[in-house]
Subunit: 388 residues, 2 copies
């Protein structure tokens, strides 16, 4: 009699593996591979942030921290948000989290009862949807439309997807993987509608600074009242090249502070203490770094756009924001399979579009936060697969 | 018309605040206060671990890490567990987590459907119970019995508390706050019973090394089969003085690896990468530090036990394990109120016993992981409140 191996509950076992992780495992260890599959710059964290972490360790910042985050970091977040968006924010609207990812699951725990549903504008980074599923909620995709490589949202489609059990709209703008940036007019209309319906907006703003022709993307936090049902998610990963540090923050109505502190306590009891102090320095002294990073990314975006435009099978429009080229390839119906071919035949690692929902099938995501040499090499290697 | 402030779902709003945080906020900023309320040593993390974190930063370990943890840390965990428990463990039984706390919520997500129940041996650190509540599960307390300050578990009481919806038994041994250490015989009986019933054991082993007369506490991982329904939680916080680093690990049946990796991805995407590398060095080179820490703690325990024994109102027995004195005070019926008096009148910060469940009412918890000078001073200051 064979013993059945122990298993977690069905709902968790049924969660899909990340297809980005899947393709990266497929290509792991392949000599000379150029990895462009993760949403991660190839730059190490800048030295002034590493130095701040070292200094905090030297000063003995190795003990437990308050649940809302250490005071210097919360004050720097307040100052940063005020500077960026040109309006005041109360200190008690901010809670520090151990990454944007962690901020999202705390938010889902806070808002979603089993049987509730969440609207998600897609294609989107899959993890936000899985967090809702973990809480027993239903996720309803609201697909963006694509024309000539550009992406747009049909508001009626969004509003029509809601019903009495809709508790959350999840909007990631600028968006991963598409680079879609919600226009001001749509932002205002969604806010009005959600306010009227009593629905929460969860705004994933982690790419807010990676915008090429303006200081930041249109954001709900710019215009919402302090007591609107809005939770904005932020992260140090992308703009300060701190992916491995696991640091982010939530902006929420002040009435949520106590409950978010509890959830922080009962989920992780806060991010690494000296990492929080380094984050304070990143915000205080990092504007120059972010500006330089953005210039590098702009050149890389243009290089990739130029390269892809030469490939007959590719449909793509250069994005206004974020650091991804999300392009479709004529004739591709299984993007994971095609991504495997690109690994095997071209030695380039891309994320398959179906990692981001059904709407992403037929697409591939290339993260262009790598050196121009690597990007040029990758484009050249992929030519036989993307050009007839 | 006043607008109702936005609120999280009722289940989350109803979660209690940690009374340990509550008393620490009450006493925050009081000049000269001796804080013994947190489960935290007053020692900074040792230099060899800080140095390892610095070296990992220097080597560019600032990027995303694999969901199960970086390879050097997982290998050191395997080696450490094999060395400690004298038996082999497969590498794929280990998943790195961002603290013991985070390991617990991942475990609850993995195991508990709404309506399930969990038995918890109490008094216990409250956070483990709140995680079950977040998932919509019921928590059933199974109180330890106290006689002359010593604690013991009645197995019949444990087994009788189970029904068809019991999915988890949560056992923290050595226990916070009591220092209770589960005897081998009870461990074996619980394992047999849980195996027969198909119930999961979640063993919080974070104090496994803080034992004064043997190399480690009796542990389920010592005797369980690799495919028993057992999840063991561990943490770097206590034995390596790394509370602020947020690093721990799970030992689970190999059949759970993939699902735990997914949960890691969808909760936080792993602990800070260079912190993981420092953790590998803590395990590899830290046996000497743990032994020395334990000697210091033994002296402090004896000092506190000696001091408390002179107070007529106190009932207490010196614990075999962990770093807490959990003592009752004759006539105290509201331990939070009494803890406030100790802050105000004695300038000492203790955790109120009712922070650890109803069974803890009338008790106080003193963490003796502080210098002997501070402990002597604290005892002297409390004499007027604890001695008639």
């Amino acid at each position: 009699m064979s013993r059945i191996p122990p298993q977690v509950r069905d709902l968790i076992h049924a969660l899909p593996d990340s297809r980005i992780r899947e393709i990266s495992l497929f290509g792991a260890g392949k000599p000379g591979l150029i990895p462009l599959w993760f949403g991660e710059s190839d730059e190490q964290t800048p030295d002034f942030i590493k130095d701040a972490a070292r200094a905090a360790m030297d000063q003995g910042e190795t003990f437990y921290a308050p649940n809302a985050g250490v005071a210097p970091l919360r004050h720097e977040i307040k100052s940063y948000m005020t500077r960026l968006y040109g309006r005041e924010f109360g200190l008690n609207r901010f809670v520090v989290t151990a990454s944007g990812m962690n901020a999202i699951i705390l938010t889902m725990q806070a808002l979603l009862d089993p049987g509730d549903n969440m609207l998600a504008v897609t294609p989107v980074w899959p993890n936000c949807k899985e967090t809702a599923a973990i809480m027993g909620a239903e996720v309803r995709d609201v697909p963006l439309s694509e024309a000539d490589g550009g992406w747009s949202l049909d508001l009626d489609r969004l509003f029509d997807a809601a019903d009495d059990r809709t508790r959350v709209i999840f909007i990631n703008s600028p968006g991963n993987p598409t680079g879609w940036m919600m226009p001001e007019g749509q932002r205002d209309a969604i806010l009005q509608w959600a306010r009227h319906r009593g629905i929460w907006i969860v705004a994933d703003d982690v790419y807010a600074r990676l915008v090429y022709d303006r200081p930041h993307a249109p954001a709900f936090v710019e215009v919402a009242d302090p007591d609107d049902r809005l939770i904005a998610i932020n992260s140090f990963s992308k703009s300060w090249s701190m992916t491995g540090w696991r640091l982010g923050w939530i902006t929420a109505p002040v009435s949520l502070l106590g409950d978010l502190e509890k959830l922080n306590e009962y989920n992780i009891a806060g991010p690494t203490t000296f990492v929080q102090h380094a984050g304070a320095v990143a915000l205080r002294d990092g504007d120059g770094y972010v500006a330089e990073l953005l210039e590098r990314l702009r050149r890389r975006r243009d290089l990739v756009a130029q390269g892809l435009s030469q490939f007959s099978r590719v449909r793509f429009a250069s994005p206004e924001a974020a650091f991804y080229a999300f392009f479709s390839v004529d004739g591709v119906t299984d993007s994971l399979e095609f991504a495997r071919r690109i690994v095997s035949e071209a030695g380039v690692g891309l994320a398959p579009g179906n990692a981001f929902g059904d709407q992403g099938e037929g697409y591939l995501r290339l993260c262009f936060a790598s050196s121009e040499a690597a990007l040029s090499d990758a484009l050249e290697r992929m030519r036989p697969l993307l050009d007839d």
